[in-house]
């Protein structure tokens, strides 16, 4: 079995930290999305005429938040695939 070189371990640790940041980011975005949905629900129920501009603003924020959250999952998916590959390379087995 091959051994992980010191610099590879350092790189993996940095990527794990980056991954944690991304997950925290998703938590933040999803929480914010939840808040917006609640406000949206309240505003729509209280009458569309006055709150139409708010509705449009909220929906735009939701769209951008969704973009961010999905982007985060793309990043995580790729990082996990590469971590799999690197771990498999160090153990001499095939990555899944």
């Amino acid at each position: 079995m091959g051994r992980v070189r010191g610099d590879q371990t350092a790189a993996l640790a940095a990527e794990v930290r980056a991954l944690r940041e991304v997950v925290l980011n998703i938590n933040h975005v999803v929480t914010q999305t939840q808040d917006i949905v609640n406000q949206l629900n309240h505003d729509v129920r209280s009458g569309a005429e006055q709150t139409l501009p708010l509705f449009l603003g909220y929906s735009e924020r939701l769209r951008l938040d969704a973009d961010t959250a999905i982007g985060a999952t793309h990043v995580i998916e790729r990082q996990l695939a590469l971590l799999d590959e690197r771990l498999a390379a160090t153990s001499g087995s095939d990555a899944t």
């Binding site: 990527e15 991304v22 980011n25 933040h28 982007g71 793309h74 990082q79 390379a89």
Partner: protein, 572 residues
Amino acid sequence: MLVDARPVDHPTARQRGIGRYVTGLLTGLRDIDAPMIALYGTDAEAEVLADTVPGLTLQRWSPQAVRDHAVDGTWYLATQLMLHPIPLDPIPRCITDARLPVAAVMYDVVPYRYPEIYFSDPNARRQAELRAPLARTVDTLLAISDFAATTAADELAFPLERIATIGAGADRRFTPAADDPRSHLGRVLSGHVGRYVVTVSGSDDRKNTEGLLRAWTHVDRTLGDDLHLVIAGAHTPELLQRWETWADDAGVVDRVVFTGALGDDELVALLQGAALAVMPSLEEGFGLPVLEAAACGVPTISSNVSSLPEVLDDPSACFDPHDPQAIATAIVTALTDESHRSSLLAAGRRAVDRWTWSNAASATVAALDAMGPRWPQRTRRAALRLAVAGVFGDGVDGTVSRANEGLVTSLRAAGSNVTALVDTGGTAEPTHAATDISTDRWPVRSVGRFVKPWDFDHIIGVLGAAPQHLATSATARTVPCHLWIHDEAMVGVRFGANLQALEIARSVIVGSAAAAELLRRAADRPCPILVVPPETGDTEFAAALRAWLDDVDDLDASTIRHTPPPVASSDP
């Protein structure tokens, strides 16, 4: 090399530097005969590519396209890593599946260096924060200047030794004038404009247009009453109003022209006809307008910061952009000192010879050859990617949802990569509660924006007669699917709403020969049909479907295959 060609028709990027850069790099790679496939996502992108860079080998994005070329030594060239928003999918999953080494073009990291300007919107900041770890997953960055390389290394925490500078080039339209350029500028310049100094500018503060306007107040009128400063480019009405008011207050408004948006031919003619081109920008990734002006045979000067000194590579052609007096002195000298003008023209010619798309393409190939993958990895032939789109879970058309879960489970048990694209049947049920399919699952409505059709080799769109398949039906009308028609009643009576899906379907799966015949008559465009009796077990159906998917692209459109094959009648 597989090159992501999608930015050439991106709604915003095609008009900006990134779209033009990708077009130029593709042209260079073609001209040096680099082994390359340009991957596009839509028919519109393919048309733009065929028009602007004829002679390319084009292929539509798909796992199969990547699989066909994923051998050791193949690279994927990501061209939109830095393009917003992040779900543009700069590194599609099939590239990661194939473990292809990735080289990404690094245009600039200007927003990271000035977060107070560019990241005032929290979403922009968050997406930029995500882009940094994504950038760190690539094997190498191909920077368009040394400045872009060093700043990217700093801002993205990317190892500088894995970054190569490949440069840029000017489009072939930018050449010295063959006829009188003023004949093309009737819409842009009025008759009282004689000689002019031109700058190509954007609305960004970093373009330093205001610094140039300040400098223009120091340029003596004795150089000629007809000498004008022409500021080319599309600017917001508010910004134009501000600049015009400022120029009026400074007493130079009669010597300044704002062109507004220009056509390609007008821009070239404007550069060709100028006495001098000035680029006072505070920060660029490369500085294409400097090179384009030089290519038009115009003496050109630029600021001495960021990447700009690299373009002309002549200190005498540069000035301090933070000092209006220094800009003015550089302008006056370049207009009045003939030997200096000759020197500037010579520097421009050297830059035009050095910065070509062929050279950028050669530098790209050389960098990839020299660097190799960043980590030990084996390029591999990734497994098929399948998706089953339809209803799942209890309470939503139970017959179809049970069949869908059986199909996904059986396909996975047989070793296929299967994504469940869940249609919640118009209910408010969250996707994650709708099914026991716990991994690799998306709402079917995410296809298009978040889940790209080219993520999959095959999408099986499952339709039943109950009115709960709306999202699946809508997806099948826009993305070519293999339609699995569950209920024979649909074929004769209720298929009308799905005819559009049938017209673009890759194939159809039905339960009886009679249904197959009815469909054949209903569709204007025939496609292969697989007939599998409804009593077929999940495992057998999954096996029949896999065999069908392996064959279907090679089948004649009139094919009707029966599984199992029909038994010949022994009746007399």
